[in-house]
């Protein structure tokens, strides 16, 4: 049975895929994952998952058909309006 091992390099960091291994059950999978991804003290924590439990999605989202710039940072152009607002506030303050 193939198990996927995800490892956390340091406390608080995201878990990243480290590799896979062959083991008959959870006990063996844990023993081996510790060895492969921990014996040099290189992982803070591990997630060990049977491969069949992992659902792979290759093209998560079809987002390029219509323009959805409201979902992107570069979809917002504040420069011009900000300049005008500052000028107005400065004029009001001076008056």
């Amino acid at each position: 049975m193939v198990w996927e091992v995800f490892r956390q390099e340091r406390e608080g960091q995201p878990f990243q895929h480290g590799g896979s291994l062959e083991a008959p059950n959870r006990e063996f999978a844990e023993a081996y994952a510790r060895e492969f991804y921990g014996r040099r003290d290189e992982s803070f924590a591990l997630w060990i998952v049977p491969r069949e439990a992992v659902l792979e999605v290759r093209e998560p989202y079809v987002a390029d058909v219509f323009d959805r710039d409201y979902r992107r940072v570069d979809g917002y152009s504040l420069k011009v309006k900000l300049k005008e607002a500052r000028e107005r506030a400065a004029a009001a303050g001076a008056g």
Binding site: E22, P24, E27, F28, A31, Y32, F36
Partner: protein, 211 residues
């Protein structure tokens, strides 16, 4: 804590670690090869620590104690000397029996009046927990296999000699077996001579050299 007893501990770990490292590269499957190799390394590391403690009065160094004695001077239990590669059933039977005995022994040493011994035993206990887990994992998996049960029967008398006195009853209870006639320390098996020869061949080739 007398030096002779420390040598027993150190020699057990050195010789067993040496035997276990005979499997590195040829274990039954790759994942287990890596795991079992760590166990061998940990044992050698523990041997080194016990030798250093044993050497504290004499001023010798761990390598000198490990490699520069004559075969007859080693105080390891016969269990550790036996050449068991490529028999995985007997290897795991030894692993299971030895780790159980060693856990009992180390627990007692962790309560020693000698602070150096107690301190080292406590450190070793932390690493040994993994060995016990690994041995139990294999024991659970191989139980019932005829060759494994036969191996346990064969090695049980040897295992008893790893510990002394009351600890032998504790060991018997832990593995669910009746006490038997132990194969005691003192007389070495035929397997030790060849082990010593190979273990010391490079070192003896240039006596006194640094490597």
């Amino acid at each position: 804590m007398n030096a002779q007893l420390l040598l027993e501990l150190a020699d057990d770990e050195l010789v067993l670690g040496w035997r276990n490292s005979e499997w590195t590269g040829i274990a039954p499957f790759l994942e287990e090869d890596v795991a079992f190799s760590s166990i061998a390394q940990t044992e050698i590391g523990h041997a080194r620590a016990w030798y250093e403690l044993a050497a504290r009065e004499s001023g010798a160094d761990a390598d000198a104690l490990a490699f520069d004695r004559e075969p007859g001077e080693y105080r390891c239990a016969p269990l550790c000397e036996l050449r068991l590669v490529s028999d995985w059933a007997r290897t795991i039977a030894r692993h299971y029996l030895y780790e159980t005995a060693d856990a009992i022994r180390i627990a007692e040493l962790a309560r020693s009046d000698d602070p150096d011994v107690a301190g080292l035993a406590a450190k070793i206990q932390r690493e040994e927990a993994y060995h016990v887990m690994h041995a139990q994992m294999w024991h659970d998996r191989l139980r019932g296999e005829e060759r494994y049960e036969a191996a346990l029967d064969e090695l049980w008398p040897y295992a008893l000699a790893v510990v002394e006195g009351e600890r032998r009853n504790e060991l018997a209870a832990a593995v669910g077996r009746e006490p038997a006639e132990p194969v005691e320390r003192g007389e070495h098996t035929d397997d030790l001579a060849a082990l010593w020869e190979e273990m010391t061949t490079v070192r003896r080739s240039v006596p006194g050299a640094a490597w």
